[in-house]
């Protein structure tokens, strides 16, 4: 369509132009005739007529304007586009440089924006996700009896995350399958793509072996077979029939959930003691705050009727809460800010390029102005050119982003990916953002050159025979852009530098136990084959024996969890100490505990600072022994000896005796502030549970024993799923995975910013040298040495850098305070970082001046002076 109408208007316009010319000429002729009739000679008559007529071109222009009043802007725009395209084509080096710079800037920004949008902003793929709330770890009995909750929500569904063993031929793998109440999928509002969802009949004893697949799982394990309904898979040694597949892009509750099975209603005593996660829809018209307030009241009533030894407060959170209030989100936003800096620097580069071009084209603009183009028209035309450049840059940038987003997402840490079930990709929101960016960039790049280009005095420019020189104002703008670039680069580098140093410090702090040559093997013993603690104990002990006998293994021990995941359980109730009033924990404070074997502290190299570790004195059935950590001892027994004291965490618990105090460990990873309390109880006393971790101290690199140790597990019980075997170092590092990832990105951007700023400086310096060729020629002719000339150029370049640095330092000093929360033991105004970055930029500045300086020194004064 575009082609035809262009053709038509082209043909049409020629015709219309011809007609207009003819009309005017007819008028002229008639006027000439009248003049002749009045007595002038033919020559005079014609001359008078023409003179009286005035400028025909201008008149035609006006008429054209009038005629196409409504379409004027379109025609002008089309003209501008054509003109811009031609102009860009005639200057390929310039165009390519500008476009590539923009591709880099726009592409990077779009990539990060897509990531941030997917992870943080895009709504979850459910119907009305903002009306849904969830609460964790609800006791089923309490939920069943809690009719008052109907005041707040109008639909409650529950689910239990389950880890099940998928058996296929020779392999056993663990998958996450959530057991959901029948109406839950329906509540979320997305119908299955294939087959059906659950109904009430599926939640009946005997019927519950049906399974609903996620899209990804369907692709991976059934190859996307459209006839998958009715096929069977084996989970936990039982066949499940596939009843449907959910659409692509749907996930619940985590991206790793592979499938869903029905949750049977709680009827038996033991079932009612289970805990479930609750999802509910708020009553229409009820806001979240009001709901929360109502729930707090109901909560108290609930606690009175159903007190639990480990009481969890019922809190309502929207589904989005984890995304909204998290550290990863902060880091992602920071990365977005960093990439915007890069974009600004890139735009400044392109603006400078355009400024230089505007200088070269001064004469061309003067001619256009003389031909009747108004100032507004000229500005529009230059803006169109920059718009075209930016548009190409954006197209290239989008392509780059498409690829980069997928590549980066694959490298992203699990913690980040778990924040959303949305699939990562460019959608209309990103496109809208990209278009907005384009407009902004075009303005930044094009406005100044456009304004300068249009402010010409035609006479002056056309009159001089010299090649066009930049006005002083123009040079000022160029220098201004370079100063801004340098400042931006400085701020970015300082920010990245501070974060990096903080990160390194976090890593360097001792975790409280010996991390090297340590590995953890997590085990899950299915209750069907290991129903009693005795059987589990038997398995663990046999496994320990076998593993301890392997070459390369120094020691083994057993615990429920190891840092950084700790024990996974904790209490948030009051700490009752015998003969003292109960000690309250702070709001939101949490007292985690870990169940460990006797030699745990020895193998982990955790010091026992007082008392003893667990040993044979602590018999099952006897008074429960606990070991508290140093922090806890200092908090609840300041200045006193806690050994022998009796503690419990609820009136229904028996009194426990403190037998030892252990050193603090970073139970939740290197960034754990060591402010946390922790206690341990004895595995021998508590009993061996189904979830445990075998801790292995190796002689050398634990990764080499990965296969061997797993083989031991399989030898003992071939049907046990391949448990995860991880060196402790890697586990600890993984908790810092998100900051490391974001930091990597930011460092990359800082590098790119540095390169772009250097290029910008180099460009301006080269140009300045070229412009001052005559002056340099004079200096050389008057006896200036090469070294002096180089120093001259370098000095001016350094002056520019210096101004940029000053601005940058001031800006950074003001801005880095926003990083405070993310900096670990490093001040936002850390002088070493500031000085270091300034030094780097100064060096880069000198390097960027080097080539132009040398070129200046090599100027042949004869040539330079002759070019006038």
């Amino acid at each position: 369509m575009r082609f035809w109408s262009k053709l038509k208007s082209l043909v049409g316009r020629k015709k219309l132009e011809a007609e207009m010319t003819e009309e005017m000429r007819a008028h002229l002729e008639m006027q000439t005739q009248v003049n002749r009739a009045a007595g002038m000679s033919s020559d005079e008559a014609g001359y008078a007529a023409r003179r009286q007529f005035g400028g025909m071109e201008q008149l035609k222009e006006q008429c054209r304007d009038e005629r196409r009043h409504g379409w004027l802007w379109l025609e002008h725009f089309a003209q501008d586009l054509r003109y811009a395209a031609g102009s860009l084509r005639r200057n390929p080096i310039f165009s390519l440089t500008a476009v590539l710079t923009l591709v880099l800037g726009l592409g990077a920004t779009t990539t990060i924006f897509t990531l941030v949008d997917t992870v943080v902003w895009r709504p979850l793929p459910y119907a009305e996700p903002h009306r849904m709330v969830e609460s964790f770890q609800f006791n089923r009995q309490a939920l069943r009896d809690w009719s008052e909750v109907q005041q707040v929500v109008d639909r409650i569904e529950t689910y239990q995350p389950r880890s099940m063993v998928l058996s296929r031929e020779m392999e056993a793998t663990q998958i996450r399958a959530d057991a959901v109440s029948p109406g839950l999928i329906e509540l979320l509002g997305r119908p299955p793509a294939i087959g059906r969802s659950f109904g009430k009949d599926d939640a009946v004893e005997g019927n519950q072996f049906v399974i609903l697949l996620s899209h990804g799982f369907w692709q991976r394990h059934f190859g996307g077979d459209p006839e998958v309904v009715g096929r069977k898979i084996t989970l936990d040694d039982r066949p499940y029939t596939v009843i449907g597949v959910m659409p692509r892009g749907f996930g619940f509750r985590r991206p790793s959930t592979a499938a869903w099975i029905p949750l049977l209603p709680a009827t038996s005593e033991s079932a009612l003691k289970q805990r479930v996660e609750m999802i509910a829809r708020l009553r229409p018209g009820l806001g979240l705050e009001a709901a929360r307030a109502a729930v707090t009241v109901l909560n108290r009533q609930l606690n009175q009727s159903h007190p639990q030894p480990e009481t969890w407060g019922v809190g309502l959170m929207t589904l989005d809460q984890t995304r909204v209030n998290s550290g990863p989100r902060q880091m992602m936003m920071l990365t977005l800010g960093a990439v915007m800096f890069v974009l600004l620097i890139a735009c400044a580069n392109v603006a400078n390029l355009l400024l230089v071009r505007a200088t070269v084209r001064q004469r061309e603009f003067a001619v256009r102005a003389a031909l009747g183009a108004g100032r507004a028209r000229l500005i529009r035309q230059v803006l169109t050119e920059s718009l075209m450049l930016v548009a190409f840059g954006a197209l290239g940038g989008l392509l780059l982003a498409q690829w980069a987003v997928q590549a980066i997402w694959r490298l992203a840490p699990e913690e980040l990916r778990a924040l959303t079930v949305n699939a990562v990709g460019i959608d209309w929101r990103v496109m809208t953002f990209a278009i907005g960016l384009v407009g902004l960039a075009a303005l930044i790049c094009g406005l100044v050159p456009a304004l300068r280009a249009s402010r010409l005095d035609a006479n002056q420019t056309l009159g001089s025979a010299r090649a066009a020189t930049p006005t002083r104002g123009q040079r000022r703008w160029q220098q201004g852009f370079v100063v801004v670039q340098t400042a931006l680069a400085f701020v970015l580098l300082v920010g990245a530098g501070l974060l990096l140093r903080g990160f390194l410090r976090v890593n360097a702090v001792s975790p409280g136990f010996e991390v090297h040559n340590l590995a953890a093997l997590s085990l899950t013993l299915p209750s069907k084959r290991y129903p009693s603690p005795a059987q589990r104990q038997d398995f663990y002990e046999r496994l320990r024996e076998r593993v301890a006998g392997l070459p390369g293994v120094a020691e083994t021990t057993l615990a429920v969890g190891v840092p950084p995941s700790g024990g996974g359980f904790g209490v948030s109730a009051d700490v009752e100490i015998e003969e003292r009033p109960p000690q309250k924990l702070g709001p939101g404070e949490f007292l985690p505990f870990n169940t460990v074997a006797d030699d745990y502290f020895r193998v982990m190299r955790i010091p026992i600072v007082r008392g003893r570790s667990f040993d044979l004195q602590d018999v099952p059935g006897g008074p429960p022994a606990i070991i508290i950590n140093d922090r806890m001892a200092g908090r609840f027994w300041p200045g006193a000896d806690p050994i022998g004291q009796r503690v419990r965490f609820s009136s229904r618990q028996p009194w426990m005796i403190v037998v030892g105090v252990a050193g603090d460990v970073k139970a939740r990873g290197p960034s754990d502030e060591n402010g946390n309390l922790e206690y341990y109880d004895s595995m021998r006393q508590r009993g061996y549970g189904a979830y445990s971790t075998l801790v292995v101290r190796t002689a050398g690199d634990p990764r080499q024993l990965d296969r061997t140790i797993r083989n031991e597990v399989t030898t003992l019980d071939p049907r046990l799923p391949i448990a995860s075997f991880s060196p402790a170092e890697r586990l600890m590092a993984e908790t810092l995975a998100v900051p490391r990832f974001c930091l990597g990105l930011m460092t990359g951007f800082a590098g790119v910013a540095l390169v772009l700023a250097a290029i910008g400086l180099y460009g301006v310096m080269s140009y300045t040298v070229a412009q001052r060729t005559q002056e340099i020629g004079v200096r050389i002719a008057l006896g200036g040495a090469a070294g002096d000339i180089m120093a001259l150029v370098t000095r001016s370049g350094l002056a520019l850098t210096g101004v940029g640095l000053t601005v940058g330092i001031l800006a950074a000093a003001g801005l880095t305070r926003f990083l405070q929360t993310m900096l670990f033991e490093i001040s936002p105004l850390d002088p070493a970082t500031f000085v270091g970055v300034a030094a780097i930029l100064a060096l880069i500045g000198i390097a960027a001046c080097y080539v132009p300086a040398r070129r200046a020194a090599k100027v042949d004064p004869v040539v330079a002076l002759r070019s006038e």
């Binding site: 007819a26 005035g54 009038e66």
Partner: protein, 110 residues
């Protein structure tokens, strides 16, 4: 080339052009002659104003144009009033009369 005509002036010119075409269609040169004649040589419309006005009026649909032959066998573009143009002419005439009466009142008063 700034178009600095005030709206008042522009509207007046439009009115004159429409009036000039009331009797019969005419080409651009002829219109300027006719306006001069009708105004007793007082109003001399220059091409720089006339043609843009003609094109504007054509764009707005109050006059239409056709190619024809002039008195001296020259091909020229003839303009004529459309039905809407006639209506516009009477409406503008009326509002001009009201305006000038008002101005006269102001000038006469002390």
């Amino acid at each position: 080339m700034a178009k600095e005509k005030s709206d008042l002036l522009q509207g007046t010119l439009d009115l004159l052009v429409l009036k000039a075409l009331q009797l019969e269609p005419m080409h651009g040169f002829g219109i300027s002659v006719r306006i001069r004649q009708m105004s007793d040589e007082v109003l001399q419309v220059e091409q720089g104003s006339l043609y843009p006005a003609l094109y504007r009026l054509e764009e707005q649909g109050w006059i239409s144009a056709e190619w024809g032959t002039s008195d001296n066998n020259r091909r020229a573009r003839f303009y004529k009033l459309t039905a809407a143009g006639r209506k516009q002419l009477s409406a503008e005439t009326e509002s001009w009369e009201r305006l000038s009466a008002a101005i006269n009142l102001v000038l006469k008063g002390t």
